[in-house]
């Protein structure tokens, strides 16, 4: 790794990135970069593991990240996901924080039904189902979440519906979200988060990044997460400007609709 670990790390965290080759075409590796860098800046050591199809998933994973890919990429990881699915489900039940973006979010749900009616089974860790669409949902997104405003960029044709007791990750302020209809975005169960947000999701949303880190560290160290003071000025500015921009667009659109009436 590029950055030196702190002199005496408060603890060591094993960070696993699932399928960096097949499922990371939209900059989602940035999430891993942000988690690893923030862990170090908070004074923790990081063991970064790239998990490729056909390998054994490390049972001692403390934090698991996955990204979005193309259909060809999803097909390439299906068999491995089936092999490692039970371990991932066990880790999730045990409170290991996970962040699954776009394609991996869909695969963490019950199933994905393609446009031509084929049903691909998922891991069922999140209580969501996804249906392929001819329409693509593409554009910048702003959400309200338990971590405050969250911004990102979505690009998906899958339309996701939450099960009856499934909590969304956030409420859509601007953008499409899970399906463009019900105002929900993503899903969260315990410390497992699924979302369509690229951007990538974490850099401009440090409160969300630190929540994942806290969940990982709290499981490992009895003292719990002891954060350092990090300077997040750039992240806060980037997020606030994007929220202002997107809500201004929405207000303008609303005014135009009202005027047309």
């Amino acid at each position: 790794m590029r950055l030196q670990d702190p002199q005496k790390p408060k603890a060591r965290i094993t960070l696993v990135h699932l399928y960096p080759r097949e499922m990371s075409i939209y900059g989602d590796l940035g999430n891993t970069h942000v988690l690893a860098t923030r862990l170090r800046r908070h004074g923790y050591g990081v063991d970064l593991v790239d998990h490729h199809p056909g390998q054994k998933l490390p049972a001692g994973a403390h934090l698991v990240v996955g990204g979005g890919g193309q259909d060809s990429g999803q097909a390439r990881v299906e068999a491995d996901l089936e092999d490692n699915g039970p371990l991932l489900a066990a880790l999730a039940r045990d409170g290991v924080p996970m962040l699954m973006i776009c394609g991996m979010y869909q695969l963490f749900g019950h199933d994905f039904t393609t446009v031509d009616g084929r049903r691909l089974p998922g891991l069922g860790i999140l209580d969501v189902t996804t249906r392929g669409n001819t329409k693509r949902m593409v554009g910048p997104v702003a959400l309200q979440t338990p971590f405050g405003d969250v911004v990102g960029y979505e690009n998906h044709s899958g339309s996701t519906v939450l099960g009856p007791d499934q909590e969304p990750f956030g409420q859509v302020v601007a953008g499409f979200g899970n399906n463009g209809d019900d105002g929900t975005e993503g899903a969260v169960k315990g410390h497992v988060y699924g979302t369509y947000l690229h951007g990538p999701a974490l850099p401009a949303n440090p409160a969300f990044a630190d929540a994942l880190i806290k969940a990982a560290v709290d499981r490992v160290v009895s003292r719990g997460f002891e954060p350092e003071e990090l300077d997040d000025t750039f992240a806060d500015q980037a997020r606030k400007r994007q929220v202002a921009r997107l809500t201004a667009v929405r207000r303008r659109g609303l005014r135009e609709r009202l005027l047309r009436r």
Binding site: Y26, G27, Q70, F234, A238
Partner: protein
């Protein structure tokens, strides 16, 4: 035809709008392209994600240096309507073009629109990389677009041997005979910074065998290189005015295509002399004289392009600004900035970030431990600060497309600059 001409002069008076006359002409005569190009013996399409503009320019220079009369579309008009607009003044009264060759730079999606009207005799397919995923959705899709273009081509294609998305296209029996350009083994280790992984197939794509007419690049430094033929013979050295591996690969692709088009008439000495004279297209390493100080504009639009640009320029001691917009022409999704390593900027830092996503860029740099001197989203203010606060060193601005257009307009108001679409003075 007349309607197109009138629209063209109207667009000129308005100042800009290169696609409008083409739009009008296409409405009046939907088959204008078919008709105009019917008498041109060779119609060559150049497409791919990165390097279209530079490569087209080099290919045209090579052909003209061999005495050929060539029609080409000017920089930045790489949609079919732009091509028609550029064509209008060159047509005779019957609406026909008189030239030995037409060499057309086309956007990947528009190349397919074009072949519905005109079957190209030849195609040069450069590469497939992630670029504006919000428009093309997936790189696999872009690869399919290029494949369809190759299948619609009648006489011959020139393919990138090192790009599995492109090299595989030759496997299709519907595609005419292929020649290849690529990297000599002495630089193969730099492929990783250029190439996307093709995960559509289980097996790694085998690099195609080398034909006697295929052309490989063997660099000597950042702008001087030799070309090695499949039969082992080498020519050169050739020196470019534009620096970097990307420009040298573009030159290799252009030479490979010129050899195919010219056959026996191709002369390596003429080719070398022609390439030496090709000025960088604007914004592709173009150097502006900013009141006696060189200011270099480097267009960045996707991970492969930015990575190669940093590899070329990153470590030289200049004052650097990065300007990122997210309008349609830039790509609205800025996620790709996290697929570029900025480590090479660590030593000198970045003086300023600017553009609509200035803070996102500053944040990105901080995650690679690159010092950021300041953030100023307003491009005009940022440029003023850059010039005022850093009087000693040469300046370099990495910028996305619309940020570059704005900066260039501001610079043009203050200093002498060539017009959009024209060449920088020697």
């Amino acid at each position: 035809m007349a309607a197109g001409r009138i629209a063209r002069s109207a667009a000129r008076r308005r100042g800009g709008g290169s696609a409008l006359p083409g739009l009008v002409a296409e409405r009046v005569d939907p088959d204008i392209l078919t008709h105009a190009l019917a008498g041109v013996p060779q119609v060559v399409v150049v497409t791919g994600t990165n390097g279209k503009t530079t490569t087209t320019k080099m290919l045209v220079a090579l052909l003209r240096a061999h005495g050929r009369e060539v029609f080409t579309n000017p920089t930045g008009s790489n949609f079919t309507r732009g091509v028609i607009s550029a064509m209008l003044p060159a047509l005779d009264r019957q609406g026909r073009m008189h030239a030995d060759l037409a060499v057309l730079e086309l956007d990947e999606a528009h190349a397919l629109h074009f072949v519905k009207k005109v079957a190209p005799t030849h195609a040069l397919l450069l590469n497939v990389a992630r670029d504006q995923l919000d428009r093309f959705a997936e790189i696999d899709h872009t690869a399919r677009l290029l494949h369809s273009l190759a299948a619609a081509t009648t006489q011959g294609v020139v393919l990138n041997r090192d790009d599995p998305f492109v090299a595989r296209i030759a496997d299709d029996p519907d595609v005419p005979p292929a020649r290849y350009f690529g990297l000599d083994e002495s630089v193969l280790e730099r492929l990783a910074e250029l190439q996307e992984a093709d995960v559509r197939f289980e097996d790694e794509a085998p690099t195609p065998g080398l034909g006697a007419q295929d052309v490989l690049l063997r660099p000597r430094d950042e702008r001087e290189f030799e070309l090695v033929l499949g039969d082992g013979s080498a020519s050169g050295p050739i020196v470019l005015r534009q620096r970097g591996l990307a420009a040298m690969i573009n030159a290799t692709a252009a030479v490979s295509t010129a050899r195919l088009l010219l056959g026996e008439a191709f002369d390596p000495a003429v080719a070398g002399a022609a390439l030496r004279e090709v000025a960088p297209p604007f914004g592709r390493g173009e150097v502006v004289d900013a009141g006696g100080r060189p200011l270099e504009l480097v267009l960045v639009k996707n991970p492969a392009g930015f990575t190669v640009a940093l590899g070329t320029y990153g470590a030289t001691p200049v004052t650097t600004m990065v300007a990122i917009n997210d309008r349609d022409a830039d790509g609205r999704d800025v996620s790709w900035l996290y697929d570029v390593s900025f480590a090479s900027l660590r030593e000198n830092g970045v003086a300023l970030t600017s553009g609509i996503r200035a803070y996102d860029m500053a944040l990105r740099l901080r995650y690679d431990d690159v010092e950021v001197g300041g953030v100023e989203p307003d491009l005009a203010v940022a440029l003023d600060r850059l010039l005022a606060d850093h009087p000693d060193r040469p300046l370099r601005v990495f910028c996305t497309y619309t940020a570059m257009m704005t900066l260039r307009r501001i610079l043009a108001d203050r200093y002498t600059l060539p017009e959009f679409g024209e060449d920088a003075p020697a």
